[in-house]
């Protein structure tokens, strides 16, 4: 996996993190000051900062750093989270989302100068107070007790350590050591003193000495003056410290860098001639001392019979803890049992605490789509098998019913894997509302319901834009201004309700406002002005409401910054239909409007009407179908040689023969002998002429582009039970191109 792929995961985390924070902000806004709520925001920002640094997004890192500093002060209570400060925190959060998006898409970094200034102003003054670092001092080592023999031994050990450290540099020969002594006459003098509890923290001084020796360092002396007598010695206590000389040519930074990662030690570094030349002079003799070690240790009189002295390994690692084997017997064994119950407690505690987070697994979407596809194939194969068996009069066998049930369950389970909660979309809405409040000066309360309702990932991804448009529309056109609301006796705060729910195999998403409702007189006037309807036409309230979806319709007195973005509600309807969905309006004068989107739960399966046209079988998406009928003479009006209109309760709908557009031969062309299916497309209603209707059922959608090539007027294909391919009609494209009938209408008009 390359860095880019990891970076993609990072951005995914960012998005999930950012989306997850809206809930925290809603709580904070409602007055919740729970520590974990603000902590969640802090963690989210903190994680982004970490990733931004790792992936080299410097501006994002700098921004998150400033932001995090403020959040930290809020989190630790230094700053009180007033509503003004919360506004700033939320505004900064919105800009953070922009920052992340810019970093992800490689766009220009948003202008954050003002925000950085505001953040820094908000943190100002309080930083100094918290920045005072606690002084770091090594605890004083216990005073040395004396025991002549042992002190001598330790003095030896002190000299062994440097020798061992040197031994780790393979190329270091006695001659080199001598040479470095020469160079070291004017050199760095470093005192390295590990903190007393360094061993408790997993530190190993020897490794640092080894690092220094790699720089060309030479240990000149080991101070063991604080070593107590053997009976008072704590083997896990760091008594020793070292003075090291390093050649003058070594850069100071390189020396300091060795200790950069830790402060579990005190170091002092100065330049000058080495004090105590004898120490340096003795260094070359050290290897002799090392040779004597085993004999030396063996000759020690052991004070207690239980104590066992293990020979010191002549490997570098053993040097610093070399004091451990000569420990008083009580020390190590007693420490272990004491620690054990504590460990057990901790373990059982961690076991009994149930993990509240859901267990998830990230799967490559391609793999998932492959699975969905395979299951689709299985469904088709099962249908073919069922048909073949029924031809042999084996249709009703229980095994076949079982297989059918299993296949359907498998299909549903697989679809469920792709399902995502609407939350991912809904969580972006509070920000949109906040922005709208700023732009329109209206006060809005958002109510959200059913955000855990799940729907296919593709639907989730593609519903965002139409939904945003509807929200903007609700705030901009639906809600009255604060003054108007007060005048109408309403609460000054407008309400936008967003909800999602499953309804008979589909998801219904509703955007409702408690505003003034659709002004039908104005809509009507505007529609007449725009030539969308005839001034004398009689329309029901519902039909007038639906006019706002007509292309080019806009009722805003002034094209506002909010909704007047060059796209109208017609685009919303088009997008919803492209998802196999329908949109409905309900509006009550003075009470508000409600837009309902009804969408399929998945795009992999389509509800379709199976029809016959000539020798072909076609599928018409059910979402577009208004009604189907076998026309009689009185509802059919002919224009020209082959054009005709269907009279649907007073409205004239052009009749379009699918066979003409898809070049299907031997199809029925006489509407009276055929079936007309009235569909709702971009250009209004059209009656599609087909030979007959076979069935109405779900079909598995296969991409024509992926398997063959794109075709005009065809949205995809499916494989029928008998193994034949049926094309799925693209209603919008078919009706938009217009048939001879539509052409005839234009001439007539």
């Amino acid at each position: 996996m390359d860095l880019d792929a990891i970076q993609q995961i990072f951005f995914q985390e960012c998005e999930e993190g950012l989306a997850g924070m809206e809930g925290n902000f809603a709580a904070l806004r409602a007055g919740d000051r729970d520590a974990e709520t603000i902590n969640g925001v802090f963690r989210c920002v903190h994680s982004i900062k970490g990733g931004a640094g790792a992936f080299g997004h410097e501006r994002l890192r700098a921004y998150t750093h400033q932001y995090e500093t403020l959040l930290d002060l809020v989190r630790n209570g230094t700053l009180d989270l007033t509503s003004e400060l919360l506004d700033l925190v939320m505004a900064a959060f919105d800009l953070l989302a922009d920052h992340v998006a810019a970093a992800r898409d490689g766009d220009a970094v948003p202008d954050d100068a003002t925000m950085l200034h505001r953040l820094s102003a908000a943190t100002g003054g309080s930083i100094a107070a918290t920045a005072v670092a606690a002084p770091q001092e090594a605890p004083a080592a216990p005073a040395a007790a004396s025991s002549d023999d042992f002190d001598d031994l330790m003095a030896m050990l002190g000299e062994v350590a440097p020798a061992l450290a040197e031994a780790t540099t393979a190329e270091a020969s006695t001659d080199d050591v001598a040479a470095s002594v020469q160079v070291a006459i004017d050199s760095w003098r470093l005192t390295y003193r590990p903190t007393a509890n360094a061993f408790d923290h997993g530190a190993e001084p020897l490794l640092l000495l080894r690092e220094l020796s790699l720089l060309g360092g030479l240990v000149t002396s080991c101070d063991c003056s604080t070593l107590p007598s053997l009976d008072a010695l704590d083997p896990e206590y760091a008594y020793l410290y070292w003075e090291v000389s390093l050649p003058a040519y070594v850069a100071e930074d390189d020396i300091r860098a060795v200790f950069e990662f830790t402060d579990a030690c005190a170091i002092s570094l100065e330049r000058g001639p080495i004090a105590g030349a004898p120490a340096a002079a003795e260094a070359p003799a050290v290897p002799d001392v090392m040779v004597d070690m085993d004999a030396l240790l063996a000759s020690i009189e052991i004070p207690t019979p239980e104590a066992k002295v293990e020979p010191v390994e002549t490997q570098p690692a053993a040097a610093a803890p070399a004091v451990a084997p000569v420990a008083p017997p009580a020390a190590t064994p007693s420490a272990a049992p004491a620690a054990m119950p504590a460990a057990d407690d901790a373990r059982s505690a961690s076991k009994t605490a149930p993990a509240p987070t859901a267990q998830t697994i990230r799967v490559d979407l391609d793999k998932l789509d492959r699975l969905v596809n395979l299951v689709g194939e299985l469904v088709i194969t099962q249908a073919m098998l069922a048909q073949r068996l029924s031809e042999k009069d084996l249709g009703g066998t229980p095994e076949l019913t079982d297989l059918e049930n299993l296949t359907r369950e498998l299909q549903e389970s697989t679809m469920a894997i792709r399902a995502q909660p609407m939350k991912t979309v809904f969580s972006r809405v509070p920000r949109i509302i906040r922005e709208l409040e700023g732009e329109t000066g209206k006060r809005v309360r958002l109510e959200v319901d059913g955000e855990m309702t799940e729907v296919d990932k593709t639907v989730v991804e593609r519903i965002g834009e139409p939904l945003t448009h509807l929200i903007r529309n609700a705030v901009d056109h639906g809600l009255e201004s604060t003054e108007q609301r007060i005048a109408a006796g309403k609460s000054p705060e407008g309400v936008v309700r967003l909800s999602a729910a499953h309804q008979s195999g589909r998801i219904v998403i509703t955007v409702a406002d408690d505003g003034k409702g659709i002004d039908r007189a104005r809509v009507r006037a505007k529609a007449v002005e725009r030539g969308i309807m005839h001034a004398d036409a009689t329309l029901s309230d519902e039909e007038i409401d639906n006019l706002i979806f007509a292309p080019g319709f806009s009722t805003a007195a002034v094209v506002s910054n909010v909704s007047g973005r060059g796209v109208g509600l017609d685009v919303v309807r088009k997008n919803i239909q492209a998802l196999g969905g329908r949109i409905n309006i309900q509006s009550r004068d003075g009470m508000g409007s409600s837009f309902s989107l009804s969408l399929p739960l998945t795009l992999a399966v389509l509800d379709g009407m199976i029809v016959t046209v000539g020798a072909q079988t076609l599928v018409i998406p059910l979402g577009h179908i208004v009604e189907s009928l076998r026309p009689t003479d009185d509802v059919l009006n002919r224009f020209g040689p082959d054009g005709s209109f269907l009279d649907v309760r007073g409205a004239y709908v052009p009749v379009l023969a699918i066979a003409d557009h898809l070049s299907i031969v031997d199809a029925e062309r006489d509407p009276k002998k055929a079936v007309l299916i009235v569909v709702d497309g971009d250009q209004g209603q059209t009656a599609l002429l087909v030979d007959s209707i076979q069935d109405q059922r779900q079909v598995v959608v296969k991409s024509l582009e992926a398997n063959f090539q794109a075709l005009n007027d065809v949205a995809g294909a499916t494989i029928l039970g008998d193994g034949r391919v049926a094309l799925i009609v693209d209603v919008d494209s078919l009706t938009a191109r217009g048939g001879p009938a539509r052409g005839a209408m234009a001439k007539a008009a």
Binding site: I6, G50, G51, H201, A257, M340, A342
Partner: protein, 121 residues
């Protein structure tokens, strides 16, 4: 010789993955945990040679984890803290809890290798 085992603890999958790649390249075997609680579960029956942990994590943060680990008697286990904090206060807290040292994020793989070399035999 079997590879040394390093337990990495970070709530960010991308950070864990970066560590895994860097550490695997260095020849270590890597075990991962998502937070302090998860790390303690992993440590049950595992004797890693080094623990590398993030500080800010849900459920149990890095400070809590280090205290727990030391409290379990694992005092010789080197623990490196991954931190974006350069603040001395955080380092102080990490050390008080029992951390051996730290690696400041963002880290270059070389820097990671160097830091590990200083705490791992």
């Amino acid at each position: 010789m079997t590879a040394k085992t390093i337990l990495t603890v970070d709530d960010s999958p991308s950070m864990r993955m970066l560590l895994r790649i860097a550490l695997t390249d260095l020849g270590y075997s890597v075990v991962e945990a998502e937070d302090g609680v998860h790390a303690l579960e992993k440590l049950d029956g595992l004797e890693p040679d080094l623990l590398i942990t993030d500080i800010n994590m849900p459920r149990m943060d890095g400070f809590g984890l280090i205290s727990e680990v030391r409290g379990q008697g694992r005092r010789g286990l080197p623990i490196l803290v991954l931190t974006t904090e350069s603040s001395d206060e955080k380092k102080q807290r990490a050390r008080d809890a029992g951390a051996t040292g730290w690696i400041v994020k963002p880290f270059h793989p070389d820097k990671l290798a160097t830091a590990i070399r200083r705490v791992l035999h």
